[in-house]
């Protein structure tokens, strides 16, 4: 039995239980309060600039920052949407050789940090790189003045680089949404005379929209916050202006104001998207017994499918990985040392801890919202996701403020009462790092769990509750099994994101503590990324294992039964 509705009905009544519903609300409030602390610290810093930065900015660079930022976000948005949707749809609906392989291979570029891909393509495409060298050999050119070659270190180049490694956000969430859709919906549309393409745009995409919107907003926020790539390519976005104000003008308050402005920008964007689909609620009770009917196509069209899926993997993963492997071979002695294994373990530990924490908190928040669908609860969910909309380095300062504040307060207390100093308990510890990652990436898990929960029909809850289950039991026994694929996806995204995370890790880490990313950055920041190609390659490769594992289990949610 399958039931799926994309309706224009008003939202359902909140599923408030008679027994102890406050528990969930309280939990959500506590989580929100703690997670929003760093963001509010930054807002607080914004109140005390060293001087008013705006007159100078408006007179000089602000217009350029804004235009460039907008162009970059627009370009990356288009690229990730086109690649993400096209590939997700192709692997879900088309039967072609290698389909099962591409289901997970399409995620691989996600494991490549943007600053690494930027470095790799620069070394491939610049004058001394193999591409131009070959062209010179062919045509007999002698120097760079003899011919024109597109410049990689431009706005367009940055757009392409960032788009290539971020499209998996859209792909992941879109594919999960496509898989959760009932195949009969598609069949009905086709039987009513819609073409496959028309069905995609009129039925499939609108139903997948909440998930795609989550993916796209993650992409846009990451783009907005990217510093490594835009700095390397000297593309002047708002983030570049922010760091200029902070580091060159020594005006942290002014920088916090720019960060706040960016935050407001993101909030408006997300609110607009939500507003535009405020009247939709969608429920899809999926029936696993009904397998997806994939298109069977002639060979020529299968080849097109193959190309659509292969190109992003080749350019987003294979080429960078091969180049890194070459560097790793050339500089093997510099790359291979005893720190290597320890750094890998640090990365794995932090990524795992952060993935679990964000998942736990994300589920709690999203489920609380399901139980208490009030305006206040919605605001809390948004508040707890704001950390993602802030550049990592700024957020790190926002994390230090409350943690060090607490440490010093507690230390003072202990000194007064017992005459002992507790020193710093939280700041400068691995806890500070996991906390920062949670603040930063909670948006990923809370967002995807929320959008998946919205699609579970409330009759599920009602049935479970009328059979005597508490809200907690309903979550564990009904929702979590249904959402297994989404949960895995969310955990995977956070895991890989933390693996790559750089600015906050650098600032907050304990002494003598390196992750793979910070180790690579030491060299990259001294214009020597090639010397740390091995750990860079491992960041990329380490992403593969969870990608394969989780992608498998996402696929299993569909094929079970």
């Amino acid at each position: 039995m399958t039931e799926a509705v994309a309706s224009q009905e008003p939202a359902p009544q909140p599923l408030v239980a008679r027994r102890s519903p406050r528990k969930w609300l309280t939990a959500a409030m506590v989580i929100t309060a703690i997670v929003a602390l760093p963001v509010f610290s930054v807002l607080y810093l914004a109140l005390f600039p060293d001087e008013n930065i705006w007159p100078h900015l408006i007179d000089t660079t602000l217009p350029r920052y804004l235009v460039t930022t907008f162009q970059l976000m627009f370009g990356v948005g288009i690229i990730t949407l086109v690649i993400g949707l096209a590939t997700a749809w192709t692997v879900t609906m088309c039967e072609f050789p290698g389909r099962r392989f591409f289901e997970w291979a399409l995620l691989l570029p996600f494991a490549v940090p943007a600053y690494v891909i930027a470095y790799v393509y620069t070394s491939l495409l610049d004058y001394a790189g193999p591409v131009q060298k070959t062209l010179r050999d062919w045509f007999g050119w002698e120097s760079a003045r003899d011919y024109w070659f597109p410049e990689i270190r431009t706005l367009e180049g940055a757009t392409l680089m960032i788009g290539l490694v971020l499209y998996p956000y859209v792909y992941l969430l879109a594919r999960a949404a496509f898989l959760e859709q009932s195949p009969s919906l598609f069949a009905v549309s086709r039987s009513l005379g819609h073409s496959a393409l028309s069905t995609f745009f009129h039925v499939v995409l609108p139903i997948a929209r909440p998930a795609v919107a989550v993916g796209l907003s993650l992409v846009l926020m990451e783009t907005l916050n990217d510093f490594g790539t835009v700095d390397f390519f000297a593309v002047q976005t708002l983030t570049a202006g922010l760091f200029d104000t902070w580091m060159n003008l020594g005006n942290l308050g002014g920088a916090a104001q720019i960060a706040t402005t960016m935050l407001a920008f993101v909030v408006i964007l997300v609110t607009l998207e939500r507003y535009s689909r405020r009247r939709q609620s969608q429920y899809a009770a999926r029936d696993n017994r009904e397998p997806i009917q994939r298109f069977t196509m002639p060979m020529s069209r299968q080849l097109i499918c193959l190309a659509v899926c292969a190109l992003p993997v080749i350019f987003g993963f294979l080429l960078p990985a091969i180049t890194l492997a070459q560097f790793a071979w050339t500089y093997f002695d510099q790359s291979w040392n005893s720190d290597f294994i320890r750094n890998s373990l640090n990365s794995l530990f932090l990524s795992g801890a952060a993935a679990l924490t964000t998942l736990l908190l994300g589920v709690t928040l999203a489920y609380s919202r399901r139980l208490h669908n009030t305006r206040g609860m919605q605001v809390m969910l948004r508040l707890s996701s704001l950390g993602y909309a802030m550049p990592g380095a700024v957020l790190a300062v926002g994390v230090i403020v409350p943690l060090a504040g607490f440490d010093n307060w507690f230390d003072g207390l202990m000194r007064d009462w017992f005459g002992v100093s507790t020193g710093l308990l939280l700041s400068g510890s691995a806890f500070a790092l996991v906390f920062a990652y949670t603040v930063r990436f909670l948006a990923v898990s809370a967002g995807s769990v929320e959008s998946a929960l919205q699609k579970v029909t409330p009759s599920m809850d009602m049935a479970s509750r009328s059979l005597g289950h508490s809200p907690g039991q309903t979550l564990v026994r009904v929702h979590l099994p249904i959402l297994r694929g989404t949960l895995m996806t969310a955990a995977l995204v956070v895991f890989v994101d933390v693996m790559k995370e750089l600015p906050a890790t650098l600032i907050l880490r304990p002494f003598n503590f390196d992750t793979l990313a910070t180790y690579v950055y030491q060299f990259a920041s001294d214009e020597m990324l090639a010397h740390s190609a091995l750990p860079a390659l491992v960041i990329v490769l380490a992403g593969i294992i969870p990608i394969i594992l989780m992608s498998r289990s996402i696929a299993n949610t569909r094929s079970i039964g």
Binding site: H56, T60, T61, R64, T122, D126, Y127, A128, E142, A144, R145, E151, R153, F233, A234, Q236, A240, D244, W246, M247, N248, L249, L252, N346, F349, A393, A396, V397, I400, A404, G405, D407, N408, D411, V420, S421, T422, G423, L424, L425, L426, S427, G428, S429, A430, F431, P503, L506, I507, L508, P510, F511, N512, F513, T518, Q522, F523, S525, D526, E527
Partner: protein
């Protein structure tokens, strides 16, 4: 007295709680990459038995130090340019240090008047010129970079990079803001391409024929000569130490400051003294092709081949003071968008 709070749930996942450091250690917040510090720190530990702990980051360390307050574990901060040092002084995070060894080893113009920071090395920001397309002696000063004869022949990294900001702020100090801005306009007009990449990329660009002149730190050139994959590019470039005949070549420093809250103050001072002495100064000069701050240590190897340097006598403090004016000037000129 510091105690471990094993009961704290937070500590349960904390890999190396800062409160747990025993004596015989010194804790370093460093703006310089740890792999560049390691040879020095290893030599220090070998000599004194004092262990070193490092956190490296390019930004945010001053904020961390400030917020950690009296409980901060950091004993010293090591930086790679003057502006980060003067930031520590401005925020009142650096302790005054009255130390005979350091005062003997580091000349007066390379340390804070009250001993709040000490330079450990100097690096010259010089002109790289194509051996093939630029005559020897064709350019000898920073001022000449604005000469229209170099139109379309100069490459640099972003004007906002701290190394360029320090150079531009020295121009402001010497010529006043108005003249300096005219100069920067002239330099911008001579750019062959949009500012991008790092200092090494500019050397590569000269080797590729994209441009004939660029500005860069002296040690990048040394590092490229030592890297067999980059040696060919470096070999096509000649070093010009600008204004050597006149006011001297612009230099910046890497340095060290003692924190006010230093829990291992004695060890920290030992480290600072060690870094100013011969062994460490030699490692700096040889491993990273920088100029020792200690005048008794003569440069060796490649650095010695470059000959005696005549550094600009402008005080580093003045460069730091003009940095913010330099940033605004870069914005007004819109240097990064030729």
């Amino acid at each position: 007295m510091r105690m471990k709070l094993a009961t704290s749930a937070a500590l349960a996942i904390s890999l190396s709680p800062v409160a747990a450091f025993a004596d015989g250690e010194v804790n370093i917040y460093s703006y310089r990459q740890a792999f560049l510090l390691n040879p020095l720190l290893e030599a220090f530990t070998k000599e004194t038995g004092i262990e070193t702990n490092v956190v490296f980051a390019k930004k945010g360390l001053a904020e961390r130090l400030e917020r950690e307050g009296r409980n901060s574990p950091a004993d010293v901060v090591m930086t790679v340019d003057i502006s980060r040092l003067s930031e520590l002084v401005e925020r009142d995070l650096a302790a005054s240090l009255d130390n005979e060894t350091l005062e003997e080893n580091i000349p007066e113009n390379l340390r804070h008047p009250d001993g709040k920071w000490f330079a450990l090395t100097t690096r010259a920001r010089i002109i790289y010129a194509s051996r093939e397309r630029v005559e020897e002696g064709e350019i000898t000063t920073y001022e000449e970079l604005a000469d229209p004869k170099w139109e379309d022949r100069i490459c640099t990294r972003s004007g906002k990079h701290p190394y360029n900001i320090a150079l531009f702020s020295s121009m402001i100090a010497h010529h006043g803001e108005e003249k300096a801005e005219e100069w920067l306009e002239g330099l911008k007009n001579n750019l062959a391409r949009k500012p991008q990449g790092g200092d090494r990329d500019q050397i590569k660009a000269i080797a590729e024929g994209v441009c004939d002149l660029s500005i860069g730190n002296s040690y990048y050139y040394g590092a490229m000569l030592e890297d067999e994959n980059q040696r060919d590019a470096a070999a096509q470039v000649r070093l010009v130490f600008p204004n050597a005949e006149g006011r001297g070549t612009h230099i910046n420093i890497s340095g060290i400051a003692l924190t006010k809250s230093a829990p291992n103050r004695d060890n920290a001072i030992k480290l600072m003294e060690f870094l100013s002495r011969e062994e460490a100064q030699r490692i700096y000069a040889e491993a990273n092709t920088e100029y020792p701050a200690n005048p008794d240590i003569k440069p060796t190897g490649i650095v010695a081949e470059w000959g005696e340097i005549n550094p600009d006598s402008l005080s580093l403090q003045e460069i730091a003071d003009n940095a913010s004016a330099a940033v605004r000037m870069v914005d007004r000129v819109d240097y990064d968008n030729p």
